[in-house]
Every structure is written in structure tokens, then in C-alpha cells.
Amino acid sequence: MQAISQVTGPILVLEQENIDTDQIIPARFLTSTSFAGIGEHAFADWRFDTNGDAIADHVLNQSRARRSPILVAGHNFGCGSSREHAPRALLGFGFRVVISSQIADIFRNNSQNVGLLPVVLDKDQFASLLQMDGQEITVDLEQCRVLVSAADGGEQSWPFTIDPFARHCLLRGLDRFEFLVQANDAITAYEEGR
């Protein structure tokens, strides 16, 4: 997993609420036994018509989409299935961070496991962010803050909270698996005590 501490870049806004994992990666792309190349299928049903032709004017097909490291998406992002293919597809597409006002439990967990930083912002601040499509912002995981340039030239700094262990692992690019492996004696003791 690639470490992530500070990400700066233009945001891509998908205002729709409840974007589910079937939108992020339709099930027909889940038959691969590897995650390689999955980013090419991110939002496939939004980016391509039923003939498989790219919908040119869709925001996700514009060149700026691939240059935006930060996805800003409507409330309850990532609801639905447990497919880890969803955060992997977003990473493969080029995103490193996803910001919403609520992120579904399993998707959030999966994101933290694969190195996509899930950020949940306060509703009012999130509403402001929705109006800033294409604007450059900074997400600072060290400080747990989103930094946004204000219209008057000043800078706004919005705090977010994240599970401390997830933050620890994401900052260092640590695989959570190692933490489990270190608990091997405790696991054995538990098994023996049953």
C-alpha cells in the first residue's frame, strides 16, 4: 500500500447522493482474478453508453478527471456491496482521496485497506466544497485537515476525523495485516482457551 500524507490537486465533484458500488464498478467487471486494470472500468455505466461508446461530455471522460486526485461525491458514498474492487477502481482511475459528508461502512474500511483516503467533512463545509469543482485543494492527513483557498485570498482549514489506526497505517503505507500477524500468540491463546 502506498503511503499517503498530503494530497494537493484539483477536485472532481460528483454531486449525486448515494453513489453505490454498482455505479463505481458494475458487477460484470468482477470476474477477474486480479485487480489489474480495474480502473479502466470505474463508473463504466456512466462513462459509456450501452453500445460501449464513451459519452464524450460526461465529466468523468474529460481530461481533467484523470488529473484530479481528489473525488468529492455526494452524501452516503460507496453504499451497497462489499466489493473491494470499488476503491481499487477509484485508485486505478487516479483518485487518492474521496471526500463526502457520509461514507458507507464497508467501502470506508476497504478504502483504508487499499490506500484510498476516505474523508468525511461536516455538512456545511462539504456543501461549500460541492461548489468548487475543479478548484485546487489540499488534504492533509498528518493534520487531519482540508485546506481550501477562500475567495478573499485567505485559506480555510476544515478538520476531519479518521480512525487513528487507519490514519497511522495510511500515513506510513503500512499493511494492517502485519498488526494481525504480531498478535499470533494472542490468537493461539484464544483458540486454546475455548
Binding site: E15, Q16, E17, N18, D20, D22, Q23, P26, A27, R28, L30, T31, S32, T33, S34, F35, D45, T50, G74, H75, N76, C79, G80, S81, S82, R83, E84, H85, Q102, A104, D105, I106, N109, N110, N113, V114, D163, P164, F165, H168, R176, F177, F179, L180, V181, A183, N184, A186, I187, Y190, E191
Partner: protein
């Protein structure tokens, strides 16, 4: 954070505490032990890769159980013996699971197993799912197993690797919610209708961060298959796990199942299962009281499972932009009667409603009737066990005679990754769990309902309820 030893505990607290290998701290999550790891072909291959990469075995193959369900065709093999997989990649995925199970010594219910089925149908049927367990699977509908008083939830593929390797999972304790459903469900009202109403009440994100316990008279009165339907749909309100305290209904369902304890050991286990119920006075972070007797047969009209109405009600106005977009996608407008909508496809099956009681309900509606000429109806049993039972009872004959297709067990049209697909623009009434855009195929439009309602829609040919069926002429 956790309550003192003496204080009343909830079912969830009891299960959580009993499986703590290492307690949660301010800086680290808890490590919880997993009693049953269910595996299928779609979300496991990269998990097994982790083991090979690290050179480690599956820690507890005896607590791991695998099946083929998601990518499998529901049409039989041809005369050449070749199964009609949708793609070569799907065939390869199934073969990969077979190879992985052989390499790591895991029990796989392959094509030749009389028990193969959708993972959440098969586990309970085998008695592998039991009260007091922690159960995970790389599938969000793992919540189904909570019907037995187990703590069961979906995980991602990285975590599948973690559990294969260590039989443990890193978890931060979720909050708890209890939903009490008082009163009796009216005749013709099913667990599916109850669940759709709960999701409507909570919203599709109202359960986020929670484990839900279902309680109250209406829940206690449900049989096990109905309880599974209710717990299955918990994830559609955003909660990872739903659970119901074990009782006599649970015990009688499990008695004699192949993997359940036998004889005296069963009686001892049953006694301990009854101790799992939430203690009187147990505290929940959130508690909701609903009136079960007010619920009517229900159907969804939007692209999230919370957008539902009682059958006969018009399409409600959109409450926000997302709902407006959903109505546009579905081709509905506010105030419109759902009954105007012609139905193209009816899908009976899935881990939500693919069990024997569901097929009996469908056959009861179809008996002596015929599916409307323009409707394609698929009936897909949830497992080989369900298929055999249905065929022993002759249900398949009723279903075929009515003009529906009788298929082999699998996830089928629930998620359109195995060749069973709803065409763009078509309207499907489905007994499955998700009506998301494109869920049943790009451009497909899904209305979720109970098996009874779906069967009635197939016969009438447009969106309808059982009460709209013409009475049969001959003897009932």
C-alpha cells in the same frame, strides 16, 4: 467504553465480548475471532494470493467453507458437458476457486455437491451457521446469518486474506440499534415487505455505523427463512449486521442439520444459545419502535431500496435531486400509478428470497394461472437443496407449466455477472435486494418486491399486487 461485567448486555455485546482476542484501545482496533468464513469465487482469489505471497497456510480450513454462486451460469451444461459460462473469465474465476480450495484444503461445494448454493442460503441449510458465531464473507449480504443470533457481516478481499491467514479481523466496535416491531403482520404481508418498510423508515444510510437487533412480536413470529430475508436486507439501510435472538424457532430449524451438533451435544448447545438473547435493560445507542400491523405489501419504485410504497399507492413526489434523478431513470413521474407500468421481466431468487418458502409462495400464485405473454419469468432456487425440495414437491412443474423458466441455483439476475441479464430500458420486478441503476444489467429498471407480489406481477403483466389476481375458476 464497554459496560461493567454485571450490567445487562445486548446480544451484540455478548457476541462481541466472546470473540475478543485483543481489546480495542485508543490507538488500535479490536482483534476479533471468526468462527465461520464463507468463501465464493468473486471476492477470494486475491485473498488466496496473499497467502501464496507470504508463504502461509489457511489457519483454520476447518472453519472455512466455499461455494460457487456469483459467476456461475444457471442454465445446465450442454450435451458436450460444457457449462455455459457467460465469459471465459468467469469460467477461469470458478476454476481458480476450485484450485485454491484444493491447494489450501478447504471444503468446496462444487457443481457436483448436492448442497451447492448461494453462500447465504447454503450456510444455514448445512447448519454451518449457528447462534453465537461470528461469520464473515466477502459479500455484503452476509448479514443474512444474523437471523440465527450470529454476528455476521461482509468484508473486502484484503480482509478475506486476513481471515484466511489468521482467522481474525481488525474491527472497531460499531454502535448498536434495536428495532422493535410490535403487533402482528397482516395476512399477505411478508418479511420482505417488513424489511422494505424498515429501510424506507431508516433511509438507505440510516443504519450506517450500527449493528441492528430486530425484536418485538412481529419479528418473533417470523419463521427462520423470513428472519433471514429481514437480516439479509439490513445492509440496504447501511448497517453491516442485523441480528435476531435465538429462540425455539431457531433451535428447531437447526436440529438435524448436517453440520449442527448431534444428540446431547445439540441439547447442550441449544441451552447455551437461549442465553444469548439481550438481557432485560440492555442498552442500545439507538432504539426504534415500529407497528408491524400497519405494514402493507410493498414495492420499490426508485433506485435505492428505501424508495418504496404500499402497492396501489401512486409514485410519491421526489424529496430531493437524487430522488428526481431516480424517477427519471425509472421513467416514473410523481403521482403516476405504478400499475400502469408494463413488466418485462420477473426474477424470483437470490440470497434474499430464493428459499423453499419463497418458491412455495410463488407456486401458490402461479398454480392454475399463466405468466402474461410478454413477461419473461426466471425462477432460480437458492441452492441445490432448495431445488431438490421444490422438485420433490412438484413446484417446478407448476412454475414451468405457468410459462416461467426453472433454472439451476446461483445468484443469477440479482447482479448480472453470470449471463442472466435484464436488457436496457426493461422493467424487472425482482425478489432480490438492490434496485440500483444498472444492477440487473446496464440500463435495467428494477422494482423490488416479495415473491408473492413478483409472481402476481408476472401473471398480470404489469405492476400489481396479489389482491388484483382474478380468482381461479376451478376448485381452489
Amino acid at each position: 467504553m464497554s459496560a461493567p461485567e454485571s450490567s445487562p448486555k445486548s446480544l451484540f455485546d455478548k457476541l462481541w465480548n466472546a470473540h475478543l482476542v485483543q481489546a480495542q484501545t485508543e490507538a488500535t482496533p479490536a482483534i476479533i475471532y471468526i468462527d465461520l468464513h464463507l468463501v465464493h469465487e468473486v471476492t477470494s482469489p486475491q485473498g488466496f494470493d496473499l497467502l501464496r505471497e507470504k508463504g502461509i497456510p489457511v489457519r483454520r480450513p476447518d472453519l472455512t467453507l466455499a461455494t460457487l454462486d456469483h459467476s456461475t451460469p444457471t442454465l445446465p451444461a450442454g450435451a458436450d458437458g460444457i457449462r455455459p459460462y457467460y465469459t471465459e473469465q468467469a469460467r477461469h474465476q470458478v476454476h481458480t476457486l476450485r484450485d485454491n480450495c484444493r491447494e489450501f484444503g478447504i471444503e468446496l461445494h462444487d457443481w457436483d455437491s448436492p448442497s451447492r448454493g448461494i453462500v447465504h442460503v447454503m450456510g444455514p441449510e448445512l447448519g454451518a451457521t449457528r447462534p453465537g458465531m461470528t461469520i464473515v464473507c466477502g459479500d455484503s449480504h452476509t448479514s443474512t446469518h444474523g437471523a440465527f443470533g450470529a454476528l455476521a457481516f461482509g468484508i473486502g478481499t484484503t480482509e478475506v486474506g486476513h481471515v484466511l491467514a489468521t482467522q481474525c479481523l481488525l474491527q472497531t466496535k460499531p454502535k448498536s440499534m434495536r428495532i422493535n416491531v410490535a403487533g402482528k403482520l397482516a395476512g399477505g404481508v411478508t418479511a420482505k415487505d417488513l424489511a422494505l418498510n424498515i429501510i424506507h423508515y431508516l433511509g438507505m444510510n440510516g443504519g450506517t455505523g450500527y449493528v441492528i437487533e430486530y425484536a418485538g412480536e412481529a419479528v418473533r413470529n417470523l419463521d427462520m427463512e423470513s428472519r433471514m430475508t429481514l437480516c439479509n436486507l439490513t445492509i440496504e439501510a447501511g448497517a453491516r449486521a442485523g441480528m435476531i435472538a435465538p429462540d425455539a424457532t431457531t433451535i428447531e430449524y437447526l436440529r438435524g442439520r448436517p453440520k449442527a451438533p448431534k444428540d446431547a451435544a445439540f441439547e447442550t448447545a441449544a441451552e447455551s444459545w437461549l442465553q444469548l438473547a439481550s438481557d432485560p435493560g440492555a442498552e442500545f445507542d439507538h432504539e426504534i419502535n415500529l407497528d408491524g400491523s400497519a405494514i402493507r405489501p410493498t414495492i420499490t419504485y426508485g433506485t435505492d431500496p428505501g424508495m418504496s410504497v404500499a402497492i396501489g399507492e401512486p409514485v410519491p413526489p421526489a424529496a430531493n435531486e437524487s430522488q428526481a434523478k431516480a424517477l427519471k431513470y425509472m421513467g416514473f413521474s410523481a403521482g403516476q400509478s405504478l400499475g400502469e407500468r408494463k413488466v418485462d421481466v420477473v426474477f424470483i431468487g437470490s440470497c434474499t428470497n430464493g428459499r423453499i418458502s419463497d418458491l412455495r409462495a410463488v407456486a401458490k400464485v402461479l398454480h392454475g394461472r399463466h405468466v402474461a405473454g410478454h413477461v419473461r419469468m426466471l425462477v432460480v432456487p437458492g441452492s441445490e437443496d432448495v431445488r431438490k425440495q421444490a422438485e420433490d414437491e412438484g413446484l417446478h412443474e407448476t412454475i414451468i407449466k405457468a410459462g416461467a423458466e426453472w433454472r439451476l441455483p446461483g445468484c443469477s439476475m440479482c447482479l448480472a455477472m453470470n449471463g442472466d441479464i435484464v436488457a436496457p430500458g426493461e422493467t424487472a420486478v425482482s425478489t432480490s435486494n438492490r434496485n440500483f441503476e444498472g444492477r440487473q444489467g446496464s440500463g435495467s429498471r428494477t422494482l423490488l418486491a416479495s415473491p408473492e407480489t413478483a409472481a402476481a406481477c408476472a401473471v398480470i403483466g404489469h405492476v400489481a399486487g396479489v389482491s388484483e389476481l382474478q380468482p381461479l375458476q376451478e376448485s381452489r
